[in-house]
């Protein structure tokens, strides 16, 4: 007991030193910036300093011991395990995109806040303590031991199914994280996107390759501290500026009524109405062109080609010729392509012609039916995110690393606590920035746009983060003239609040930490599933511990490079599927995990059938309803969006698990005593 306490004190001291040094680093950079250090150097410094820091922690905690490599020796105190899990959890999407999502979608966006926190109740109550009592290494381990069966009674079919689900879920997720690393690096330091990816990859590898779970845990604690500081400082500043109260989580309540009043004012403002009328006209023009296909496509094609000839004939400037050539290249190649492009543009224009939705009103809609449909989608999404959270292997894996079952329960509490430090701030940030944009940016003069607008408008040329065009030519910014990408919210907060550029660098470092910490955990989950569950448990059960760790490290390397390669291809389809990973994880793993603890009658055949059918239903629904995957919106059941496919997959998996278990033989004494063991007090 006293050694544990001494260990805790030592760790706490180390991380306090670390936080102090980090503060000193920030202060030093602030002074340097005052002395005229260029922005790009600050970006470089932040990026390299943090990556070197993670690498140093990785090198210091290198190990080849199996227990250290897979579960950090099972002696991570609850508080630190909670911090590490929180860093594992807070991904690039949470850090960068969530606040933007709330800005854009208002009440609907809160489904993510609820889903991503409520899932921890299920982790704490239904799964984590029992995994820790079981005390092995991976999630497939647990399922295979509980549902022993198959040839030799080792539960290999269930194990392989669980490995498959782990890999599919974690791989889509890790590609998105590495993609985010490339994006952050290129936006803040101006390095090439793929260079950014491989820099991030190097830092991930030094850490997880050398020390596995042990190195990842201690790096993640440091990363959490950076994430928290980077998220809270600018938000607190903004809150102090607007409300005079540096606690944004409390203060934004005062801004909400003011925002609602401003929204109502903007909804009926004559200038806003004029801009929206222009967008409606544009949408109507696209509708006419679509109706006149294919003649309109021919006419349009002749027109752009004619323009190109005209420019060439009058020997226009090279810039003019290039610009016209680009327009010719961008013109749809066939009439059907034109139909698709134009209907997309029609929809985009129609969307911008809509008045702003009130931020805090739940499920606004023209009639009760549409409003109900939004509510049902909200509920379905919350359900899928919660059950998915409770089945994500890289999070559950963390319940093995604490010294006892009791500490695992406490660790989930700390995890949620540390996640909430950031998550409770996100709705506040969205409201504060929205208020700032609605009152300060809207109505300002086009010749005096704030600096942050022009800076962030020019950062990403292909998908501008913010674009403002004077649609009705009155020289004044209207709300309907602003097209904003949610990501800009967190990235630009320091500048909106008028903070020095150092804080922007800090935010970039925080976003990088969020993406890297999640990628670390995911890569370890994948390579452990491959090395421990496939290689050691199925292929070569006689492998020596040394060999197991070596194989695991090699596989980690391979998986990391494949993921980085996939991310460098900018795969739009994988990125759009990240939200779907929650539905898949929940449908495939949640029923088997929970029934394995709470229902003694569940057996091998039932679990296998349940996992296959849950996964199958989920995939089937996604393929049939997601336009990206070739489905159509018309085939939705109860108007539920494809991202919430788990709302059908989980009950299907659960029902099949129960039915097949009851139809087949009850589990043997071996399984029953296993359940008694994991349920018993320590």
């Amino acid at each position: 007991m006293s050694t544990a306490r001494a260990r805790f004190a030592r760790l706490a001291r180390h991380y306090l030193y670390f936080t102090g040094c980090f503060g000193a680093f920030l202060l030093a950079l602030t002074l340097l910036e005052k002395d005229g250090m260029p922005r790009v150097w600050i970006g470089y410094l932040f990026m390299f300093a943090t990556i070197v820091l993670y690498a140093v922690i990785g090198v210091l905690s290198r190990t080849s011991n199996v227990s250290e490599y897979y579960v950090a020796g099972r002696r991570v105190p609850a508080l630190f395990n909670g911090m590490a899990t929180a860093a594992d959890w807070i991904s690039a999407a949470s850090f960068i995109s969530l606040a933007g999502g709330l800005y854009l979608h208002g009440f609907d966006g809160l489904a993510y806040i609820m889903g991503w926190t409520g899932g921890y109740c299920l982790v704490a109550l239904l799964i984590a303590p029992y995994l820790r009592k079981f005390a092995q290494y991976t999630i497939p381990d647990f399922l295979a031991a509980r549902y022993a069966g198959g040839s030799g009674g080792r539960g290999n079919p269930v194990r392989l199914m669980a490995v498959g689900a782990t890999i599919i879920v974690s791989f889509t997720y890790v590609v998105a994280q590495i993609y985010a690393v490339g994006l952050i690096a290129s936006r803040f330091t101006g390095v090439d996107f793929s260079v950014g990816i491989f820099l991030g990859l190097a830092s991930i590898l030094v850490c997880s390759f050398l020390g596995g779970m042990r190195a990842i845990t201690w790096t993640q604690v440091a990363q959490y501290i950076i994430i928290m500081v980077a998220f809270l400082i600018p938000t607190m500043w903004l809150s102090a500026k607007h409300v005079g109260n540096p606690l944004p989580q409390v203060a934004y309540g005062a801004v909400l009524p003011k925002l609602a009043a401003r929204e109502a004012q903007l909804a009926s403002d004559p200038k806003e109405l004029a801009v929206r009328a222009i967008f409606t006209e544009r949408a109507e023009a696209y509708a006419q062109r679509i109706r006149a296909l294919p003649a309109s496509w021919e006419a349009g094609r002749r027109e752009v080609l004619g323009e190109l000839d005209a420019v060439r004939l009058r020997a226009g400037s090279l810039i003019d010729i290039r610009a016209t050539e680009r327009r010719v290249a961008a013109y749809p190649a066939t009439a059907s392509e034109a139909a698709k492009l134009w209907s997309d543009q029609q929809a985009a224009n129609l969307a911008r012609a809509l008045p702003p939705e009130p931020h805090a009103t739940p499920f606004p809609g023209p009639d009760r039916e549409q409003s109900d449909s939004r509510r049902n989608n909200f509920l379905a999404l919350v359900f899928c995110l919660m059950l998915g959270t409770a089945a994500l292997p890289h999070i559950l894996m963390r319940s093995y690393t604490t010294p006892s079952v009791r500490e695992t329960r406490v660790s989930v509490f700390w995890t949620l606590f540390f996640i909430l430090l950031v998550y409770l701030t996100i709705p506040a940030l969205a409201v504060l920035v929205k208020y700032d944009i609605y009152t300060h940016l809207v109505g300002s003069d086009f010749s005096h746009l704030p600096n942050w607008v022009s800076y962030w408008a020019s950062v990403d040329k292909l998908n501008p983060l913010i674009a403002i065009a004077d649609i009705n030519h009155d020289g004044i910014v209207q709300l309907a003239e602003i097209a904003i990408d949610g990501d800009v919210l967190v990235l630009a907060t320091p500048e909106i609040g008028g903070l020095p550029y150092v804080i922007s660098g800090l935010v970039a470092a925080g976003a990088l930490a969020a993406a890297l910490s999640t990628a670390d955990g995911l890569l370890l989950a994948i390579s452990n599933a491959l090395s421990h569950d496939i290689y050691y448990k199925v292929v070569d059960p006689a492998a020596s511990t040394q060999k197991r760790v070596t194989i695991s490290k090699l596989l980690l390397l391979a998986v990391a490079f494949i993921a980085a390669y996939a991310a460098s291809q900018k795969p739009a389809d994988i990125l759009s599927l990240v939200g779907a990973a929650f539905s898949l994880a929940g449908s495939a793993l949640f029923p088997a995990l929970v029934m394995g603890v709470f229902w003694k009658r569940a057996n091998h055949a039932g679990a296998l059938a349940g996992m296959v059918s849950g996964f199958g239903v989920c995939i089937y629904y996604m393929l049939h309803t997601n336009p990206v995957l070739g489905g159509s919106v018309a085939s939705q059941w109860f108007h539920i969006a494809p991202i919430s496919a788990g709302v059908f997959g989980v009950p299907a998996g659960m029902a099949v698990l129960v039915a097949v278990s009851l139809m087949t033989r009850a589990p043997d004494a071996h399984s029953t005593s296993f359940i008694d063991h994991i349920r018993a007090p320590e």
């Binding site: 409520g118 109740c121 909400l256 919350v382 329960r409």
Partner: protein, 153 residues
């Protein structure tokens, strides 16, 4: 509270000799009490039954706590959203109630649930852990061959 799936009902009247337990996973059910040799077989069986009963009471308490807290979780997440439009008229310190619940309230309730579970289970475990230990000696502790951290070699 009688549960239809009360595990006690599934305990065989005379438990067989301890099931061939998976190595290093199940605590031996027979008490390694040196005085046991003097007892007759009936007393040993009775002791075993008492231990099973204590374990199943522990599990019953665990389950009651778990499902009670899950009911709170369900109400906080799904009922609050289902009736969000009705709750929007009410306000809490300036926030519309449904917005506050979805943005922060539910998350804080989740934190309370996880905290209450950790504290509650600590009490339950301690109580039944002690009971099992008092009656049956150190049988519920880690068995030989397992390190204190439950590590298998």
């Amino acid at each position: 509270m009688t549960m239809p799936t009360d595990p006690r009902s599934r305990v065989p009247p005379v438990p067989p000799a301890p099931a061939p337990a998976p190595a290093a996973m199940v605590h031996p059910v027979t008490p390694p009490n040196p005085g046991a040799a003097a007892d007759d077989a009936g007393a040993a069986a009775q002791r075993q039954l008492a231990q099973l009963a204590a374990r199943s009471r522990h599990w019953q308490r665990t389950r009651r706590l778990t499902f009670g807290l899950l009911a709170v979780w369900f109400a906080a997440s799904f009922c609050s959203v289902f009736f969000a439009r009705e709750l929007a008229a009410l306000s809490l310190f300036g926030w519309p109630l449904s917005f506050y619940l979805a943005a922060q309230g539910a998350a804080l309730i989740y934190l309370a649930i996880v905290g209450a579970y950790a504290a509650g289970m600590r009490r339950v475990d301690r109580r039944y852990g002690r009971e099992l230990q008092q009656q049956f000696g150190p049988a519920t502790g880690p068995e030989p061959g397992m390190s204190a951290r439950g590590e298998t070699p």
